[in-house]
C-alpha cells in the first residue's frame, strides 16, 4: 500500500520534472541563500536580507552559462557592481541627487553591453535594497566585505554542487532521452493512444496537458502526437547537449563520466534521426504488413530493445543482445526479396520506412556494443 503511494508520488514528480532540472535549479536557489542566512544569523553581525538575496540573485544569473570562465566573469562583474553601488548608496544616502546621477552614469554604459546587462540589472535590484539600509563609511566598508564573503560562498557552493550532482543530472538527462525515444517509437507505430499507452516506458508523458511545463514552448502548434513527440525529443536533445556535451566540468570524475555519457548521447541522436523515417508507418501499415509480414514482430522486438537499454542504464543491470537475430534476419531477407520483386510499385514512404528500420537495427546493435564496452555509463 505504502509502496503504491510512494510510486504514485514519484510518478507525479517524474511527469512534471522528468530530468530533475527544476529540482536541482530550486535546490541551487535555496541552499546558498540559506547558508548566507545562517551565516548572517549566527555570525556576530545582525541578520542582513541583502546578504540572502545576493546569493539568490547570483545563482539565478549563472544558470544560463555553461563554462566556468563565463560563470566566474559573471560573478565578478556582479559583485564589483554591487560593491560599487553599496559604496555609493552608503556614502551619499543623504544626497539623493548625487546617487541618481552616479547610478545613471554608471548604469548607462554597462547596460549597453549585451553580455553584462543581466548582471547589471540584478545589481540594480540589489541597489534598491541598499536604499533601505543605513549609511556611513563603516557600513560601506562592511557591505563590501559582505559582498566578498558572499562571492566566496557562492563559488564554493557552485563547486560543491558540481562535485555532488553532475553525474546524477547527466544520467537523468540520458534516461529521459531514452525514455522519450522509446515512447516516440511507440507513438509512431501504434494507431490508437490506448494501445500506445500500454507500451510506454513512462506512461505519464502522454498525459501532460500541453503548455503545462516550461519546456513545452511551441508544441501546441503541432497537430499530431507524432510531431509533438519529435519536437519534445528535439528539445530534450538540446538540453542534454548542453549538460552532457557543452557544460564545463572541473572535477575529473565528472569529466570521465561525461566522456562515457557522450557516447550514449550521440547514439541517441542517431536513433532520433532514424525514428523520423517512421512517421509514415501508420499511413501505410496495411501495405507494409502485406509486403513484409514480419514487420509487427520486428517492431515489438525493437520496442523491447528500447526498454532493455533504458532498464540497463537505470538499474545498472548487465546488457545482453536486445534484438532477436532470427526476427531481424528474417525481416532483412524479406526486404532483399522485395527489392528484387516489386520496386516499381513501391511508394516512397514505404522505402523511407524500410530504410529507417534498417538503420535503426544497425544503431541499436551499436548501442548494445557501447553499453557492453563502456558500461560505466550505467554506474554512479
Amino acid at each position: 500500500m505504502m509502496k503504491n503511494y510512494c510510486s504514485s508520488i514519484i510518478a507525479i514528480f517524474r511527469r512534471m520534472d522528468p530530468a530533475y532540472d527544476s529540482l536541482f535549479s530550486a535546490l541551487y536557489l535555496t541552499v546558498p541563500p540559506l547558508l548566507a542566512g545562517f551565516y548572517s544569523l549566527y555570525s556576530l553581525k545582525p541578520f542582513s536580507i541583502d546578504f540572502v538575496l545576493l546569493a539568490a540573485f547570483m545563482f539565478l544569473g549563472i544558470q544560463t552559462f555553461s563554462s566556468y570562465k563565463d560563470k566566474l566573469t559573471y560573478i565578478s562583474v556582479f559583485l564589483l557592481l554591487v560593491a560599487l553601488f553599496q559604496f555609493i548608496v552608503n556614502i551619499f544616502i543623504a544626497h539623493p541627487t548625487v546617487i541618481i546621477v552616479c547610478v545613471f552614469l554608471i548604469a548607462l554604459p554597462i547596460l549597453a553591453v549585451d553580455k553584462i546587462r543581466s548582471a547589471c540589472l540584478l545589481a540594480l535590484t540589489q541597489l534598491a535594497l541598499f536604499l533601505n539600509g543605513s549609511w556611513g563609511w563603516y557600513d560601506a566598508l562592511n557591505g563590501i566585505i559582505e559582498v566578498v564573503v558572499m562571492g566566496i560562498m557562492v563559488i564554493s557552493c557552485m563547486m560543491l554542487f558540481e562535485y555532488s550532482f553532475s553525474k546524477t543530472r547527466m544520467r537523468a538527462h540520458l534516461l529521459y532521452l531514452i525514455e522519450l525515444l522509446a515512447d516516440a517509437f511507440n507513438i509512431m507505430i501504434f494507431p490508437d493512444k490506448k494501445t500506445a499507452e500500454t507500451y510506454l516506458v513512462n506512461k505519464h508523458l502522454l498525459a501532460i496537458p500541453l503548455n503545462y511545463r516550461a519546456d513545452f514552448l511551441v508544441e501546441h502548434l503541432f497537430s499530431s502526437k507524432q510531431h509533438i513527440f519529435l519536437h519534445r525529443l528535439f528539445t530534450q536533445l538540446t538540453k542534454a547537449n548542453r549538460l552532457i556535451v557543452n557544460e564545463d566540468y572541473y572535477f575529473q570524475k565528472n569529466i570521465a563520466y561525461r566522456n562515457r555519457a557522450c557516447l550514449a548521447y550521440f547514439q541517441c541522436r542517431k536513433l532520433f534521426r532514424e525514428i523520423t523515417f517512421l512517421t509514415v508507418y501508420l499511413n501505410n501499415e496495411a501495405e507494409i504488413q502485406k509486403l513484409l509480414p514480419n514487420t509487427k514482430a520486428l517492431m515489438s522486438n525493437i520496442n523491447g530493445s528500447f526498454k532493455i537499454i533504458y532498464k540497463a542504464i537505470r538499474t545498472q543491470e548487465s546488457i545482453e543482445a536486445t534484438l532477436s537475430d532470427t526476427i531481424t534476419n528474417q525481416w532483412l531477407v524479406d526486404c532483399e526479396k522485395l527489392k528484387k520483386l516489386c520496386t516499381a510499385t513501391l511508394d516512397k514512404e514505404i522505402l523511407e520506412f524500410i530504410y529507417g528500420i534498417k538503420c535503426l537495427i544497425t544503431d541499436i546493435r551499436k548501442f548494445e556494443e557501447i553499453l557492453k564496452n563502456h558500461g560505466d555509463v550505467r554506474h554512479e
Binding site: 527544476s22 542566512g37 539623493p96 540589472l121 528535439f234
Partner: protein, 358 residues
C-alpha cells in the same frame, strides 16, 4: 547604417531607457518619503531584467508581477498572522516554502510564482533582520504598502518602454535576425551534408558546430515567440505567420534529420544519375535557403521541377539505393520552401512586410 551599428544604437537606446526608468523610480522613492519606497526601484529593475526577451516579456512580467505581488502579500499576511504570532519556530519552515515555490516556478516558468515568492519573503526577511521594524510598522501593514509600490514600479517600467525608444525593445527584429540565421545555417548544413555524401569529405567538427548554431537559433526564437504575443503592435496576421513558420521549421528539421541519417550510414555509390548533376541540385537548394528572403518577396524558380525530373529518370530497381531517398528528401525540402514562400507572399505578405520594415 550597417547591422552592427544598428545593434549598437539599439543597445544604447535600451540602456538609456532602463537607466532613466530606474533613476525616476529612485526619485519617486525619495519624493514619496514613505517607508519601503525602495520597493519601487526594485520592481522596475526586476521587471526590466526581461529586456533581452523583448517588449512582450517586459509587459508580461509587469502584469505577472502585480498579480504575483498580490498573491504574495495575501499569503504573507496570512503567514504572519497565523504562524509567526504563535511561535518563532515557524520561521524555520521558510526555506522549505522557498524551495517548493521555486521548484514550481522552474517547472512552469510562470513568473507569477516568482513574484509571489519575492513578495512573500522580502518583508518577512526584513522583519527578521530588524526588530525595530516590527515595533514601528508591524509586518502585516507593510505588505499592502508594498503592493501599492509594486503597481507604481510596474507603471514606471511599462511607461518607460512605451515612451522612450519604443522600437528598440521590440522582439520582432530579434526574431527576424534569428530566423534569417536559421535559414543560413540550414543552407550551410545542406552544403556540408552534400559534400559528405558525394565527396566523402566529412568534417565532423564543422557539421556539429553548424547544427548547434542552428539548434540554438531555433530554441531562441521559440522562447521569443512565447512573449511576442504581449507586444504592443502584435496582430493576428503576425501570429498566423509565426505559427506557419514554426510548422515549417519542424518539417525542415525532419528533412535535415533524414539527410543526416543517410550520410551516417551510406555514401554516394554512383548508381543513380551523374554526380555533378546531383551536386548542382544540392548547391542550388543551399542557395535557395541562403537567399530565402528573395523567395518570400515573390521570387520563384523551377528547381523542384528539375529534381522531380531526375527522380522520374531513376530506374525502379534502383529505388532501394540510399541516393533515391537522398534526392527525394532534397525535393521535399525544395517544395517546402516553395510552399512556404507562396504562403508568405500571398497570405502573410502584410505581416512579413511589417516584420521586415520594423
Amino acid at each position: 547604417m550597417n547591422s552592427l551599428e544598428k545593434v549598437v544604437t539599439k543597445n544604447w537606446q535600451m540602456s538609456f531607457c532602463i537607466s532613466v526608468a530606474f533613476c525616476v523610480a529612485i526619485f519617486f522613492d525619495y519624493v514619496s518619503n514613505i517607508a519601503f519606497g525602495y520597493w519601487i526601484p526594485m520592481t522596475v529593475a526586476i521587471i526590466l531584467s526581461a529586456v533581452s526577451q523583448g517588449q512582450g516579456a517586459i509587459i508580461r512580467n509587469a502584469l505577472a508581477r502585480v498579480s504575483g505581488t498580490f498573491f504574495g502579500v495575501t499569503l504573507g499576511f496570512l503567514y504572519a498572522n497565523i504562524f509567526m504570532t504563535s511561535s518563532y519556530l515557524w520561521m524555520y519552515s521558510l526555506p522549505f516554502i522557498w524551495f517548493i515555490g521555486y521548484y514550481f516556478y522552474f517547472i512552469t516558468n510562470n513568473y507569477i510564482i516568482y513574484a509571489t515568492m519575492i513578495a512573500l519573503f522580502v518583508p518577512i526577511l526584513d522583519a527578521i533582520s530588524d526588530n525595530a521594524f516590527l515595533l514601528e510598522y508591524g509586518l502585516q501593514s507593510t505588505y499592502f504598502t508594498r503592493l501599492g509600490f509594486t503597481i507604481i514600479g510596474a507603471f514606471i517600467a511599462v511607461s518607460a518602454i512605451y515612451i522612450i525608444h519604443r522600437n528598440s525593445f521590440s522582439a520582432q527584429p530579434m526574431m527576424k535576425a534569428h530566423t534569417e540565421n536559421i535559414f543560413k545555417m540550414q543552407a550551410e548544413i545542406i552544403r556540408l551534408i552534400s559534400k559528405c555524401f558525394f565527396d566523402a569529405e566529412f568534417s565532423d567538427k564543422d557539421l556539429l558546430k553548424t547544427i548547434e548554431s542552428h539548434i540554438f537559433s531555433i530554441t531562441l526564437i521559440e522562447n521569443i515567440y512565447l512573449n511576442i504575443g504581449y507586444e504592443l503592435d502584435q496582430n493576428e496576421d503576425k501570429e498566423l505567420f509565426y505559427q506557419c513558420l514554426f510548422r515549417f521549421i519542424e518539417k525542415l528539421l525532419s528533412c535535415s534529420r533524414k539527410l543526416l541519417c543517410i550520410i551516417n550510414h551510406d555514401q554516394y555509390s554512383g548508381i543513380i544519375s551523374n554526380c555533378d548533376e546531383l551536386k548542382q541540385v544540392f548547391a542550388k537548394l543551399a542557395d535557395k535557403y541562403n537567399n530565402i528572403d528573395e523567395y518570400f518577396a515573390g521570387k520563384t524558380d523551377n528547381s523542384s521541377g528539375k529534381i522531380a525530373a531526375i527522380l522520374e529518370k531513376i530506374n525502379p530497381k534502383d529505388k532501394f539505393a540510399p541516393e533515391y531517398l537522398f534526392i527525394e528528401t532534397a525535393r521535399e525540402m525544395s517544395l517546402l520552401l516553395d510552399n512556404m514562400a507562396y504562403d508568405v507572399y500571398n497570405k502573410y505578405a502584410n505581416s512579413h512586410t511589417k516584420c521586415n520594415t520594423s
